[in-house]
Amino acid sequence: MSESTVDAQELRERVAALLAEHDPATTDRLEFLRARFDAGLAWVHYPEGLGGLNAPRELQSVVDAELASAGAPDNNPRRIGIGLGMAAPTVLRYGSDELKHRFLRPLWTGEEVWCQLFSEPGAGSDLAALGTRAVRDGDEWVVNGQKVWTSSAHTARWAILVTRTDPDVPKHAGMTYFVCDMTHPGVEVRPLRQITGEAEFNEVFLTDVRIPDAHRLGAVGEGWRVAQTTLMNERVAIGGNAMPREGGMLGKVAATWRGRPELRTAELHDRLLTLWVETEAFRLAGMRLRQQLAVGSPGPEGSGMKLAFARLSQALSGLEVELLGDEGLRYDDWTMRRPELVDFTGREAGYRYLRAKGNSIEGGTSEILRNIIAERVLGLPSEPRADKDVAWKDLPR
């Protein structure tokens, strides 16, 4: 990868050239997105030829702003968040040139949706205990097992998959990471209904699924290390977005407060203001974190943003249900649906309250995040690990 000399001015010129050749008003959406990728304006910090220009990551905002003001279509990033935020960085870091060129363009344009086959019924917080087996068979691997909490599995073309390839060594050592074809006949996807009534997640059953060895990411036995790349990016993706003041869940409650004076009580008022202050303080912390990143000195603060987000989302949505009084006794709809998009701040207060309960579980529970902060940021000693030197097959389960 060569050092970049691309600056904001050059990016603006490249955007202008793209727009001149592909007028967003008359160009097909997908055609425009492919042209944008080929012009290196998809994710500017990626390498040339893979949708980027080796430019500094923070210059992406220049491109996005220019394109948005020109009315250009975007790739609907929320619909393909797992691909963009987790699969792509992992493919980029560990994939062969052939895989990078095969996967990244349709991933970015949204032509191919990705999902993540990590968690299992017996491996949640302790992901490294997972038991989905992959056994080598010539140039292929044969995979059997069950995955769970897979969003987008029913629309996904590809999955990132972590498997057990050597049960005779301690758990972290015997794992291998693959790209799995979700159209293989051995892949069965069943909706997993959650407390909101809908099923945004799935269970995925893998029965004799054959994966070519060429679709392996990283060395055999190195799957845990590869998965770390994915998971670090997941936490950044969940907690790291810029937010206007009173954005997100706080905006919902504040709007209800302003619009419904008859619901107000002194006790709710002080709780609302306390949460307003905390939310604003963490919004500023997110801003500060991005300023640190922009000058190239990221602090450890990122580890905590998801933890704060989960707590505040839960407190604010819970407050809104209470504020609504009698209306808080009702729910909009328990019908089982399989939404393609998940909006934590969507639907009504009851839904938001129930969905927010997942925020402290998905992508690393708040308890695990506190362990990470305590051990990696504060340097406190780790819990004794009973499973450290035990072969995976001998672990109690």
Binding site: A254, L272, L273, T274, A281, R370, E375, V377
Partner: protein, 372 residues
């Protein structure tokens, strides 16, 4: 709030390092514990070094008025370090509150400029003669009356750093309304109650037909006082950040080395998770405190919100961090010989200083249109 700078500049980082080195050397806990019960609870030599030698008392004061021509961002940084050491110097009273009141008055007036020079140079320590609990937005105080000849009579309780002051900046009500005066300490009667906070003393100050110099009349006095209170509340957040930072760092070090049940107690999740929560609060407190300092330095329209957020949040975080510090130290945290109590006392007193968290939230309700 267009483009706040929430980071520390290179200059600020250098300033932090030099202040921390000095305080590590000159304000170590055992000596501090001995000092708080001595006849000299304030460290006059340390104050002279900070103010007269290093020029830190005049950071936001323009150079032509004898200051450093920096801004309250740098003042905030010094407060962070002083908070980390609970240093017994009258920085808040003199370099923050009294100085901000003078900067909020008409500095072209001779008596204002003269007093600013005295405070900025460290020649004198000032104090703002209002109760430390006074919040921004409070009504102009009526405790001190000025007669037609400009002589002051009245009592002000709980003046921060009052015992160390050479001169008081006094809001008083005259026949024509609010005024701001300067009164030399020698012209006032200063008594010192037993304070909760052992490293920042308070005084009850009585003026009896006292000689006073007029600093601002009815047009300028309320704005000058409000600027002092708003600046003080906003910058105090940085001191609270420093207090919390020391408490976290000290507690982490302690639980990592304290063995019970054959393990460092810091390896137990029950303790780790509490410390992770304190750390997380500190992350947000730092951003909120920096934002308030930046908004005050730049004269942002959002300064009122920034200060209300920073003071209500950081005061709570500092108390939480200090309480966790005492609890997670176990028995030793309850002893006089361990310095944790100095930080708890500072954090608790700071919670009342310049408006409680609840008071700032009430202010915020108006500013962000969330009425009761």
């Amino acid at each position: 709030m267009s483009n706040p700078d929430l980071l520390y500049s290179d200059v600020e980082t250098d300033l932090r390092a030099s202040v921390r080195d000095l305080l590590t050397d000159r304000c170590e806990p055992a000596a501090l514990l001995a000092r708080v019960e001595s006849a000299e609870p304030y460290d006059a030599k340390l104050w002279r070094t900070l103010s007269a030698e290093l020029g830190l008392a005049g950071l936001p004061v323009p150079e032509d008025l004898g200051g450093q021509g920096a801004s309250v961002r740098e003042t905030a940084l010094v407060l962070e370090e002083l908070g980390r050491s609970v240093a017994p110097v009258p920085f808040l009273g003199s370099a923050v509150l009294a100085t901000a009141a003078l900067l909020g008055a008409d500095t072209a007036r001779e008596p204002v400029a003269v007093l600013l020079r005295r405070l900025a140079s460290g020649e004198a320590a000032g104090a703002l003669a209002v109760p430390l609990s006074t919040a921004p937005g409070s009504a102009f105080p009526a405790a001190v009356a000025a007669d037609a000849d400009g002589r002051l009579t009245g009592t002000v309780r709980s003046v921060a750093d009052g015992p160390a002051a050479d001169v008081f900046v006094v809001p008083a009500t005259g026949p024509d309304g609010p005024r701001l005066y300067a009164v030399e300490a020698a012209a006032a009667s200063v008594s010192e109650p037993v304070p909760l906070d052992l490293t920042r003393r308070i005084a009850d100050v009585t003026f009896t037909d006292a000689d006073a110099t007029l600093l601002a009349g009815a047009n300028g006095a309320p704005a000058a006082l409000e600027r002092a209170l708003l600046t003080g509340a906003g910058l105090l957040a940085s001191e609270q950040l420093g207090v919390a930072d020391w408490c976290l760092e000290t507690t982490v070090a302690y639980v990592g080395g304290r063995y019970q049940f054959g393990r460092p107690v810091g390896s137990f999740q029950a303790l780790k998770h509490r410390l992770a929560d304190v750390w997380l609060e500190l992350v947000a407190a730092r951003a909120a405190a920096r934002y308030a300092a930046d908004a005050l330095a730049s004269g942002s329209d959002d300064a009122g919100v920034a200060v209300a957020v920073a003071q209500s949040y950081c005061s709570t975080v500092a108390v939480h961090a200090a309480e966790e510090c005492v609890q997670l130290h176990g028995g030793i945290g309850m002893t006089w010989e361990h310095p944790a109590h100095l930080y708890l006392k500072r954090a608790k007193a700071d919670q009342l200083a310049l408006g409680t968290a609840g008071r700032h939230r009430t202010t915020l309700a108006t500013l962000v249109d969330l009425p009761a």
